[in-house]
C-alpha cells in the first residue's frame, strides 16, 4: 500500500510548526556566554519546572532576551513567521494586538530537563534551540486528543506502546511554534556533561494580567 493512496484531509489547525534560524550558528560560545549572563541575573531563582542540572532565566524579565539588542536580529526575523502561523494557519483575528510579552533562556546540562507544563493563555509559545549537543534531548508534546484515542488499543505490548507524548526532533537553530495551551516538556539531556543545550523561549500574548505581590512563578 503506497502512502499516496490515502491523503490527509484534516481541516483542523495544525498545532506545531517548525522553521530554522541560522543566526545562532556562528560563535556559539558567545551566545552561551550571553545566556549564562541572563541566567545569573536571576540571582539564583530557578524555575520549579527545571529538574536536574538545569536552570532558567524566567524570573529575570528585566533582562529578557526580547528586550536585549543582541537578540533583535532574531526577533526581527521571527515576527513575520509568528504572523504567518497565527493568521494563515490558526486563523487568528488580525484586528487584535499581539506582542511578545516575555522571554527567557533555559540550559540543560547532562541529567537536566524541563518538566511538563503549558504556557497558559499565551497565543503562541516559541522554543528556539540556540545550541543542541548530541543527545541533548528533544522536545515532547502531549497529544490533546489522547483521551479520545484511549478507548482503542494502540501500539503493541512488544513494541513501545504509543503514549500521548510525541517526540519532536530538534537541532541547533530550530524554532518550534505551538499554542500556549499545548502541554510539553523536554527529554532529559543524556549527552556529554558540560555541553549545555540552550533554549530561548518566547511567549506571544494578546491579553495582560497583573500579579499580586511577587509570588513564586
Amino acid at each position: 500500500m503506497k502512502d499516496a493512496l490515502t491523503l490527509v484531509a484534516d481541516p483542523f489547525p495544525r498545532l506545531v510548526f517548525k522553521t530554522n534560524y541560522s543566526g545562532f550558528r556562528d560563535n556559539q560560545a558567545k551566545w552561551a556566554e550571553i545566556c549564562e549572563g541572563i541566567v545569573r541575573g536571576t540571582g539564583g531563582h530557578n524555575s520549579y519546572l527545571e529538574a536536574g542540572n538545569a536552570a532558567s532565566s524566567v524570573r529575570n524579565q528585566e533582562s529578557a532576551p526580547h528586550k536585549l539588542a543582541v537578540f533583535q536580529p532574531f526577533y526581527k526575523w521571527l515576527w513575520p513567521r509568528v504572523q504567518e502561523v497565527m493568521y494563515l494557519q490558526w486563523d487568528m483575528e488580525p484586528s487584535i494586538d499581539y506582542w511578545i510579552s516575555d522571554s527567557w533562556v533555559n540550559y540543560h546540562d547532562r541529567g537536566g530537563h524541563t518538566l511538563e507544563h503549558t504556557h497558559g493563555y499565551a497565543v503562541m509559545a516559541v522554543s528556539t534551540y540556540i545550541t543542541m549537543p548530541e543527545n541533548g534531548g528533544n522536545l515532547e508534546v502531549l497529544d490533546p486528543s489522547e483521551h479520545f484515542w484511549a478507548m482503542h488499543f494502540r501500539g503493541h505490548y512488544r513494541e513501545r506502546a504509543p503514549s500521548g507524548w510525541k517526540e519532536i526532533p530538534v537541532a541547533a537553530g530550530d524554532v518550534c511554534m505551538f499554542p500556549g495551551w499545548l502541554q510539553h516538556r523536554t527529554q532529559e539531556h543524556k549527552g556529554t556533561a558540560g555541553e549545555k543545550r540552550w533554549v530561548l523561549t518566547t511567549n506571544i500574548l494578546n491579553v495582560t494580567h497583573s500579579r499580586v505581590g511577587r509570588g513564586p512563578l
Binding site: M1, T19, E84, Y87, M92, I96, P144, G155
Partner: protein, 228 residues
C-alpha cells in the same frame, strides 16, 4: 503573506481524516439496490432530516454483506488497514472487522444531523452519487474548546467543511463529531452515501427497539447483570 523559510507543520499527532477515491461505483446499477435497502428499513433514522432516508435500521441487508458491494469492500480493506495501523498506530494483535454498514439518501432539503459513531474505531463515508450542490460533509474540530480562549476568524462552533465528489472515500475515527450540509441539489437529484463502521469491540443491544433515540424511549431497558 508568505515569508522565506516559512514555518512548516511539525505536528506529531495522528491525522484524523484520511481521503481516498474509489473510481468504480456505478450509480445506475447501485442506486436501485440502495433504494431497496432503504425500503427494507422498517423506520428511518432520527438523524435524517428533511427529504432524507437511511437504511441503518435494516441490519438484515447491510451493504457489506451483499455480493454487489464485495468488490468495493475488497478494495477498501487494505486502505482501512493502512490508516488503522500506519496512521493511527492501532494494535495489530487486536481483531478489527466491518461491523455494520448502511446507505443514506439525501434529496433536496435533506441532511444528516450532527452525530458520532461511538466506539467505532473508524467510520467510512463513501460517496456513490453526488449531484451538484448536494452538500458537503462537515466536521467539528475536537480541540475547538482549546481555541476558544482566543479571538479567531474561525468563530466558535463553526464546522469545518470538506467538499466531496462521487467516488470519494473519507475515513475518520468514530468519535469525531460530523454531519452533512443540507442538499441544495435540483429536485429529483439524490445524493447517495454508503457508510461503514470498523469495530474492535463487540457490543450487544439489550432492547428490541434498535436505534430508537434514547430521549424518546419509553424507558431504559432492564439491565440483567451477567447475562450475555
Amino acid at each position: 503573506m508568505t515569508v522565506f523559510n516559512a514555518p512548516k507543520s511539525a505536528s506529531p499527532f495522528p491525522n484524523l481524516i484520511m481521503r481516498t477515491h474509489y473510481p468504480h461505483f456505478d450509480p445506475q446499477r447501485l442506486v436501485p439496490i440502495c433504494e431497496g435497502l432503504v425500503r427494507g428499513a422498517r423506520e428511518n433514522a432520527y438523524l435524517e432530516q428533511g427529504d432524507a432516508n437511511s437504511s441503518v435500521i435494516n441490519t438484515q441487508s447491510m451493504p457489506h454483506t451483499l455480493a454487489v458491494f464485495a468488490p468495493f469492500y475488497e478494495w477498501l480493506w487494505p486502505h482501512i488497514e493502512h490508516v488503522i495501523y500506519r496512521e493511527w498506530k492501532m494494535d495489530r494483535s487486536v481483531k478489527y472487522w466491518i461491523n455494520d454498514s448502511w446507505v443514506n439518501r439525501h434529496g433536496p432539503g435533506g441532511q444528516t444531523t450532527e452525530h458520532t459513531h461511538g466506539h467505532a474505531v473508524m467510520a467510512i463515508s463513501a460517496y456513490i452519487q453526488v449531484p451538484k450542490d448536494s452538500g458537503a460533509i462537515e466536521f467539528m474540530d475536537p480541540l475547538e474548546h482549546m481555541w476558544r480562549m482566543y479571538y479567531r476568524n474561525h468563530r466558535p462552533g463553526t464546522w469545518d467543511r470538506i467538499g466531496v465528489s462521487a467516488g470519494d472515500i473519507l475515513m475518520f475515527p468514530g468519535w469525531l463529531d460530523h454531519r452533512t450540509e443540507v442538499s441544495r441539489a435540483e429536485p429529483g437529484l439524490d445524493r447517495w452515501v454508503l457508510t461503514t463502521n470498523v469495530f474492535c469491540h463487540r457490543m450487544e443491544r439489550a432492547a428490541s427497539k434498535w436505534m430508537d433515540p434514547y430521549v424518546t424511549s419509553p424507558g431504559y431497558p432492564k439491565v440483567e447483570w451477567g447475562k450475555r
